[in-house]
């Protein structure tokens, strides 16, 4: 997944391959076992990323990135411990637990 095409200092994806999709899925912790599903993804991502290249033509020189959100800034609250009435109910949603803790398969093999 090396940047394949240089446009000024920006790297655009020229052609996304099955290998790239596998790498992205690996990063996103998703296993795509159906080969047809994988092929369709390659095709879709190729189309979509191809369309995005139109952004190359927008002049954004000196434009500050907009991270979105509303008009409020720096909303803080006191860092206090409070009783969470839902704690027990959240734990009930754990498919497996032991002694009040979430139970998972081992992290290390």
């Amino acid at each position: 997944m090396k940047p394949l095409k240089e446009d000024g200092n920006l790297a655009y994806m020229a052609e996304i391959t099955e290998r790239d999709v596998e790498k992205l899925a690996e990063l996103a912790r998703i296993r795509i076992s159906d080969p047809q599903r994988k092929r369709k993804l390659v095709e879709d991502l190729k189309n979509i990323l191809g369309y995005f290249e139109e952004l190359k033509n927008v002049d954004t020189e000196g434009v500050k990135p907009d991270v979105g959100g509303g008009l409020r800034e720096d909303v803080v609250r006191k860092d206090e411990v409070t009783d969470s009435f839902v704690e027990q109910r959240l734990k009930e949603e754990f498919p497996a637990s032991e002694g009040g803790f979430l139970k998972t398969p081992p992290v290390f093999e």
Partner: protein, 478 residues
């Protein structure tokens, strides 16, 4: 009881005049749901028992002469990405198939204080990703106006419930048009409030810089009334400040002084003929009511789809990282050898095609080699789009446009071509990118079986919902 033409005010009046009880109305809706839901697939869960019980409780209190809040008894559908304590919340996904909410969303708390009657959870595109409700893991929703066509999405179940007489009103969520577009396709009114007007606490997050909860209803007035109740600040959502401007309950003549801008970029080709005719009709009517129009320009509109479909997947891939198959009630792949094996298996099987596409797209645009070309670039373009609106709003007070370039399309027409689906969001996504309020209003009344609806959109300044709701009410009532 003429349930297909009921509105909130008619409902309230009927109760007052003892034409019907809440139980009778709720019973009528449940009967219709039983009849139509197998075909339309509007509801994922129907709360027959709890709805009937709540209705009876309200009737008893009314009989005792108790003063109840204005929305008491209102039969409501709730999009299934909004949490109701003790009820399943699937977000239209297999990965949350067995997840039961542990608490109420803030909007639900507020509506419970009003004693609304929740009829059930409405179907949606998986994790609110889509414009047709065909991406639901639990099957597509049909448009009550023509079951061969989609209701729009992602709040397709909510819009179809209101249009088809399976609920008096509904809650949806709008990240890129997901309230307004299905409202237009189904011939109902739908409001996407200003970013920060309504708390998102208890909404299953999709794009956190874009998401808003909002109402869908049978009239602009109904939508305004619901908005008034659900809006407000919330210590559990730091982005929510509320508006402190109550929605007037009568026609507000002050909106007559507002100047309506018409962005030329929204009308430059690409509009289906029926939509163009609808826009002409709507403008004529507004002009006949003495509203003034002025042409404006929003020059970066054509880049909005690229911008949105970079930023949204980036945020969605991050938000959806929490669905790991461990914490939200899915049966674990118990034979997983290790934690990683469990993650990749559960996520691979649990997510449908559209979330998968967007997670990978988001992972890609955020990856180090490509971040600047895609994500950072999109953020800059977002600023340009926001500035377009800022400039336009120096000249005009409200902006008028079509809600969608076409009427409701056929099931299967676009679902295998995601890019063409994305491109049809062109008129709605700029509003989300700029954090503005947008209202979709049906051009006229659309009785079921008498043609496909068209909707127009009114975009307001930040926190000026009353401007667009006010004009929408004149359009419908004057």
């Amino acid at each position: 009881m003429d349930i297909e033409n009921l509105t909130i005010s008619k409902f309230r009046e009927g109760l007052k005049n003892k034409e019907f009880s809440v139980s009778e109305v709720v019973g009528e809706y449940l009967g219709r749901i039983g009849e139509k839901n197998p075909e339309w697939n509007v509801y994922l869960d129907v709360y027959k028992d709890s709805a009937r019980e709540e209705a009876e409780r309200i009737d008893q209190r009314r009989e005792k002469g108790e003063e109840l809040p204005p929305l008491a008894g209102l039969p409501l559908a709730v999009k299934d990405n909004i949490l109701i304590s003790g009820k399943r919340a699937t977000a239209g996904s297999r990965i949350l198939e067995n997840y039961t909410a542990a608490y109420d969303a803030t909007v639900i708390e507020k509506l419970k204080d009003q004693h609304v009657v929740v009829l059930g959870k409405a179907n949606l595109d998986e994790f609110a990703m889509g414009g047709s409700t065909e991406n639901s893991a639990f099957g597509p929703v049909r448009n009550p106006h023509d079951p061969e066509r989609v209701p729009g999405g992602s709040s397709g179940g909510s819009a179809a419930a209101v249009a088809g007489g399976l609920a008096l009103a509904a809650l949806g969520s709008d990240t890129g048009g997901s309230i307004r577009q299905p409202a237009a396709f189904c011939g109902v009114a739908g409001l996407r409030p200003t970013y920060g007007a309504v708390s998102r606490f208890g909404l299953i997050a999709l794009g956190s810089s874009l998401d808003q909860i909002g109402p869908l209803g049978r009239s602009v007035r109904d939508v305004g009334e619901l908005f008034d109740v659900i809006q407000g600040g919330d210590s559990l959502d730091a982005t929510a400040s509320g508006t402190d401007r109550p929605v007037p309950d009568k026609l507000d003549p002050r909106v007559k002084d507002l100047v309506i801008g018409v962005p030329k970029e929204y009308f430059e080709g690409g509009l289906e003929e029926s939509v163009q005719e609808g826009m002409d009709e709507a403008m004529e009517r507004l002009k006949s009511l003495d509203f003034r129009f002025k042409e404006i320009s929003l020059p970066h509109t054509k880049h909005a789809v690229s911008c949105y479909y970079i930023i949204l997947p980036a945020e969605a891939s991050t938000n959806l990282a929490r669905f790991d198959g461990i914490r939200y009630g899915r049966d674990l792949a118990r034979d997983a050898e290790n934690l990683r094996d469990l993650y990749v298996t559960e996520r691979g099987e649990g997510f449908g095609d559209e979330p998968l596409r967007r997670i990978l797209l988001g992972t890609f645009v955020l990856s180090s080699g490509y971040y600047d070309a895609y994500y950072a670039k999109a953020q800059k373009v977002r600023r340009l789009i926001r500035d377009d609106f800022k400039r336009a709003f120096e000249d005009v007070d409200v902006i008028f446009s079509p809600t969608t370039p076409t009427q409701a399309f056929k099931l299967g027409e676009k679902v295998s071509d995601p890019l063409s689906m994305y491109l049809s969001d062109i008129f709605t996504v700029p509003v989300n990118l700029a954090g503005l309020p947008g209202l979709s209003v049906p051009v006229k009344k659309y009785p079921l079986g008498e043609g496909l609806p068209v909707g127009f959109q009114l975009i307001g300044k930040h926190f000026r919902e009353n401007d667009i709701l006010g004009i929408g009410r004149y359009y419908e009532e004057a």
